[in-house]
Symmetry: C2
Subunit: 113 residues, 2 copies
DNA sequence: TTTTCATATGAAACTAAATTCATATAGATT
DNA sequence: AATCTATATGAATTTAGTTTCATATGAAAA
């Protein structure tokens, strides 16, 4: 069965899920989220906490912001980022629970390649 | 501030979240999940439902299976896949809620590039 | 009013995940 | 046992997200 190279995928209506998860499928963004879970921070504080370069943080924050996973508030020249905990925290909890249910001995959530 | 090309990212302990979300940040996998939400299916049934080539489905199912997002049961030469609803369904619900809270007029969960 | 500090932005380069496609396996059917 | 049917697998390729890095913006301080 041959397929066209640019196949049209028929779940455009489910695009939201994809965009949302895309924002979480990245170790840096997860790092930022967990970092902000402990309290609001400006970009420099996130940089110091994660030891990651500034533009990387900014790029990651931009997409997290677009998805309303984080909020910003400007204060002079610094911008305070805060986590929108309503969605993310329960989501992380679900994964913790999932892992504890299904990965009794060792973690099943590992790279398998 | 210069950084090494292969920077060590300091959240290896949070790798599970990343692996888990990676499995969801893909329209095909989301399609499969939503398809299985409506009932257990074998690979051919998923193919027909989504109009997607067989090996693509199989590859996607392999990684979903490794994360225990789906389960398999063999029945003769066919394999029946089922959704592990305990984690995924509440997670999708959280996103629906998130979208309805934050995307009143149009969906905020869109590509912004 | 120039400099400095905090952060954002653009685009090329890099990288890793997804796709493709040929092929393998293995149960069922003849 | 040969064939068919259902699904899995491997590896090269493609693609899209991330990183990098140079630069822009803009607020505060000197």
């Amino acid at each position: 069965m041959k397929k066209k190279t640019h196949e049209v995928i028929p779940f455009m209506n489910h695009h939201s899920y994809n965009i949302f998860f895309m924002n979480l499928a990245n170790p840096l963004k997860i790092g930022i989220i967990l970092c902000l879970r402990d309290g609001n921070k400006n970009v420099s504080e996130i940089m110091n906490a994660l030891k990651v370069e500034q533009s990387k943080i900014s790029h990651a924050l931009t997409s997290l912001k677009h998805c309303k996973i984080v909020n910003v508030e400007q204060n002079g020249k610094e911008r305070i980022y805060s986590l929108n905990k309503d969605t993310i925290i329960p989501m992380l909890n679900l994964i913790d629970k999932h892992a504890s249910c299904h990965c009794k001995n060792k973690c099943c959530l590992k790279s398998w390649k």
